[in-house]
Amino acid sequence: MRQFDVEVKVWLKPSVFDPQGHAVHGALVSLGFEGAGEVRIGKFIQMQLEAEDEEAASRQVEEMCQKVLANPVMETYAFAIRERGQ
């Protein structure tokens, strides 16, 4: 078995209003960062994973995202996998 480092990002779908992002955007603009555009706030998940190969690891993470880490009704996700020590 090989060891992988996984990084998962989860955030609200573009169609869903993100009040946190909206509030932070307001704060940035009031601080003088007038160029700040739409802000979206999400979650960042780090995980260690043991799997046969990268494909198996990727398959498992995809399933984790679908079943637990994200709620596809309101969220979307992306992940990156890197073999440890490489």
Binding site: L12, S15, V16, F17, P19, Q20, A23, V68, L69, N71, V73, M74
Partner: protein, 226 residues
């Protein structure tokens, strides 16, 4: 009839629900711990409010995987009434027993106040003793009560009369002012407001009483025909 009130680590309205049901119906009520895997002895099941498993990841996300929620799904499949209040509603959507999801309130404030609701249907085990269109007063207490579903789902809920309650003044940004919805079979209700907190005069409203009486009337009728 016998009622189950499910208790998760982090539930905090379980005793309120238990007391309200005892007071109103006089029926036996069991507080059932989250590791129970069989609820077949019960005629009605309540998922109470609180912060199950700390609401880690998302409200209701971890509770969904507990043995008791699988048992709740089995009893719902058998047609028994399942009432999810607040965090219970969040657990029902996370587990797929009800469509949609509950998000942080659009203004990010925790809202704790008596809300006016419009009863949209009395065609359900939970609302049969209300009048359609009736305005009732039930407290809300939540930070994540913004009901969200895609346009198709909302349209289907509307078309099939499965929006049980709407807010008269939307306190959280819920789509279509939705406060509570039914499943297709109409035996699962999830709502953000707390009917168990509106059952005695000093609570400021007694409008929650009829929800528990409705469930009781529904079950007793079924038992009489069994």
């Amino acid at each position: 009839m016998r009622w189950a009130v499910v208790v998760f680590p982090g539930s905090n309205c379980d005793r309120d629900a238990e007391q309200a049901i005892r007071l109103i119906t006089g029926d036996p009520v069991d507080l059932v711990w989250h590791d129970a895997d069989d609820l077949s002895a019960y005629d009605a099941i309540v998922l109470p409010g609180g912060f199950s498993y700390g609401d880690y990841l998302r409200a209701g996300a971890i509770a969904r995987f507990s043995p008791v929620v699988r048992a709740v799904a089995r009893e719902a499949e058998r047609g028994k009434p399942v009432l999810g209040i607040c965090n219970g509603f969040q657990i029902l959507t996370e587990s797929g027993l009800l469509p949609g999801a509950l998000l942080a309130n659009d203004h990010l404030q925790f809202r704790c106040e008596i809300a006016k609701l419009r009863v949209e249907t009395n065609d359900s085990p939970f609302t049969r003793l209300y009048e359609p269109g009736e305005i009732i007063r039930i407290p809300v207490a939540h930070g994540e009560g913004r009901y969200h579903a895609d346009a198709e789902v909302v349209e289907e809920l509307r078309r099939t009369g499965r929006v049980a309650f709407r807010y008269v003044e939307n306190p959280n940004g819920s789509v279509d002012d939705i406060a509570g919805i039914l499943n297709a079979r109409r035996n699962v209700l999830g709502l953000m407001p707390h009917p168990e907190r509106a059952v005695i005069d000093w609570m400021g409203s007694e409008d929650g009483i009829r929800m528990f009486q409705s469930i009781r009337a529904h079950v007793e009728e079924g038992l009489a025909h069994a």
